[in-house]
């Protein structure tokens, strides 16, 4: 047993972190927010950036080398998604990774594929105007649509980096042959990894602010009330990280359910606490603190709700399905 990152995995993480720091710094984050606000219902993603990410291997992570991929596995995909979550990178990233082998041009970033969870109510599709194609995934079957084939209603998204549309019709159109259970599991895992990254971002932001902001003649981070908020944020991160990484190793669907649950808690809880640490400053649009919270809400609603996750885990308890 060696439950630590390998040398290669460490290098991958560092590489992705540096890539994103260079290609998607705060100015581009803010430009992405502005793009959404300016777009109406139009496209908002930066296609150039998308191709750059593809060029760096973002979307071919799970493709075998024979198919032009990197031949890496879920562990590496999770590390990349964690960094993407930490950078608040927008776009249908989970779809990008999971559909790279199924949708022409997705691996190279030439075309953008979407994934949509049809078990939610209402059914929401993210980045509708950016996607060239979308797979709508129900509980047991999936369907494939070209852009424009779906009737949708506009929704003003709570997350200013993730436009949404509501699907107006039930499943129809071309069936997409796929192991739906597996696809849903993988989508939950990669979403959990992004939540983990979001939780890390919120922790880092809170600690940096607590060190620098002074009130009552001292950095607020020297007060136990703030200190202890930050400590619990780290605890959430470490627990979620163990769960997400382990789920990427075992692929066990119950373990993925637990990982998604804990990563959702870490992302929303940390974003809330980060806001509290920032006080009034955090309540401003400019401080960017809200972006992590809104994204966390969005992801928590995708691919597994708390109710579904806890029921899955409860069932596994009596099934004798032992994760440990």
């Amino acid at each position: 047993m060696d439950f630590q990152l390998s040398e290669d995995q460490r290098a991958l993480r560092t590489g992705v972190r540096e890539l994103l720091a260079g290609r998607f710094p705060t100015e581009r984050l803010r430009a992405a927010v502005a793009a959404y606000e300016a777009a109406g219902d139009g496209p908002v993603l930066d296609r150039g950036l998308w191709r750059e990410l593809a060029g760096a291997g973002f979307f071919s992570l799970l493709l075998p080398e024979a198919a032009g991929g990197t031949g890496l596995g879920p562990q590496e995909a999770v590390l990349v998604m964690e960094e993407a979550g930490r950078a608040l990178l927008p776009g249908p990233l989970v779809a990008g990774v999971l559909l790279a082998g199924a949708v022409d041009g997705a691996a190279t970033g030439e075309r953008i594929a979407g994934l949509c969870d049809a078990t939610a109510a209402p059914v929401l599709w993210d980045h509708p105007a950016d996607c060239d194609e979308v797979i709508v995934v129900g509980a047991d079957a999936a369907h494939r649509y070209a852009a424009g084939e779906l009737r949708t209603a506009a929704v003003r998204s709570v997350d200013p980096l993730t436009p949404l549309a509501r699907l107006l019709d039930g499943p129809s159109g071309a069936p997409y042959a796929v192991d739906v259970g597996r696809l849903r599991r993988d989508a939950a895992l990669l979403t959990a990894a992004q939540q983990l990254g979001g939780a890390v971002r919120a922790l880092e932001a809170a600690v940096a602010y607590a060190r620098q902001r002074e009130q009552f003649g001292a950095p607020i981070g020297s007060f136990q009330a703030v200190k202890h908020l930050c400590a619990e944020m780290l605890v959430r991160v470490e627990v979620a990280r163990s769960a997400v990484y382990a789920a990427s190793v075992t692929g066990d669907p119950v373990e993925v359910a637990g990982a998604k649950l804990l990563a959702d808690e870490a992302a929303t809880g940390n974003a809330r606490d980060c806001l509290q640490v920032h006080g009034g400053t955090g309540f401003t649009w400019e401080a960017d603190v809200h972006l992590a919270l809104k994204r966390a809400w969005l992801r928590a609603a995708a691919w597994q709700t708390v109710a579904d996750g806890t029921e899955t885990l409860a069932e596994a308890l009596t099934d004798g399905h032992i994760v440990l």
Binding site: P122, S157, V158, F223, V226, G280, G282, T284, W285
Partner: protein, 384 residues
């Protein structure tokens, strides 16, 4: 312990209800959120209607032009206007609830005559210039300085979280008049005319996407010394005296509103099937107990104020701690009721969820409130 209202209180309530049912249908449509002049006009028109009907300054003392109502009458007023969907105090907030009472308590006869009647009649709007970028929880760290120059103070600095700055006539301003004195002893309270040269207002966008607040930059703004309320360097006490006027009514309308939202959540959940989820259902049941208790605690505090003992729990810190948390929980529950619909920013509950995030921060963070409760009520030692 008596939870029934007296005949006098009931008759006050009946008259108010009758008046509301008569006037509310005639109100003009609400202006858009970003239409500040429209909002000012709407809010001040409502204030004028209250004035003409004898409800303006209900809780102000009679000698300040108010009606000298009891805290219970004020509670009834806030409860009934909220239930009836009457306009909020809006742009009149600072004038009616803070600057006005400050002038009433600490101003000279001339100052009272100049500033109070226009507030009651809805003719002048006040805003508040207290917080600063480096003075949030620690308000006494404020740096905006006022230097005496003959009959004027020359004021420079910046203020934060100022509502209605764009349309206000006056700003109640805390400034540092003696930089050498201990923090709390070098502050003065000024009424600054908002049309004075040197004032720049920059709207401040919140995480909800709206611009309910502004930053106010002050560059050598000249404020007459005659506009100072209270003695020079005594502004901290002047302000705290007013804050201590809390009569338990601060959140009456909000608690009523939370009850209404909670009932609507239950109805919606019944409608969309989520009511069958016992976890969500009991969560709503738990919140029903919470807001019922907060209503009773409101009545308790109002009765205590009416009995002359002031509001228990250091002017409402105990109440605010629990209420702000409960209100955030209410909107988290709303998100559960809405399911993925909670991602639609146009839904009223989603917008309110975003606003509710400020409740544990604004007007004293929960951390500061816990310090207050622990030190001033429980007598735990200061210090760490």
């Amino acid at each position: 312990m008596d939870l029934t209202y007296t005949a006098e209180e009931e008759s006050f309530r009946a008259r108010l209800r009758a008046w509301l049912s008569e006037v509310l249908p005639k109100l003009p449509p609400k202006p858009a959120a970003a239409d500040w002049p429209g909002r000012r006009a709407y809010d001040t028109a409502w204030q004028r209607m209250l004035y003409d009907a004898g409800y303006a300054g209900l809780h102000w003392p009679a000698d300040a032009g108010g009606r000298g109502a009891t805290p219970t009458q004020h509670l009834i007023f806030l409860e009934e206007t909220e239930r009836a969907g009457a306009p909020y105090v809006g742009a009149n907030f600072v004038g009616l609830l803070h600057a006005g009472p400050t002038v009433a308590a600490e101003g000279t006869a001339e100052q009272r005559a100049r500033w109070l009647p226009p507030i009651l009649r809805g003719e002048e709007i006040w805003c508040q210039g207290f917080s600063e970028p480096a003075a949030g929880s620690d308000l006494a760290a404020l740096r905006t300085k006022a230097v005496r120059d003959g009959d004027f103070y020359v004021v420079s600095g910046s203020k934060l979280w100022t509502s209605h700055a764009e349309v206000a006539d006056w700003c109640e301003l805390l400034v540092r008049t003696n930089p050498g004195a201990p923090r709390h002893r070098g502050i003065s309270w000024l009424a600054m005319p908002m049309d004075a040269p040197g004032i720049t207002v920059r709207p401040l966008r919140t995480l909800a996407g709206s611009t309910e607040f502004a930053e106010v930059f002050l560059d050598e703004v000249r404020v007459p010394v005659a506009n100072r309320v209270g003695a020079e360097n005594d502004g901290w006490r002047v302000t705290m005296v007013t804050l201590s006027f809390e009569r338990g009514t601060a959140f009456v309308g909000e608690v009523v509103a939370c009850h209404r939202v909670l009932a609507a959540l239950a109805r919606t959940a019944r409608g969309n099937g989520r009511w069958d989820d016992a976890v969500l259902r009991r969560r709503l049941g738990r919140l029903a107990a919470e807001f019922a208790a907060l209503w009773r605690l409101t009545q308790w505090n109002v009765s205590a104020a009416q009995a002359g003992g002031g509001v228990p729990g250091v002017g409402g810190s105990v109440f605010k701690l629990r209420y702000s948390h409960a209100r955030q929980e209410l909107y988290d529950a709303a998100a559960e009721v809405l399911g993925a619909g909670a991602l639609d920013a146009d839904h009223e509950w989603v917008a309110d969820r975003l606003s509710s995030l400020s409740y544990t921060i604004a007007a004293g963070t929960s951390q500061i409130q816990r310090n207050i409760v622990a030190e001033r009520i429980l007598g735990l030692p200061k210090g760490r």
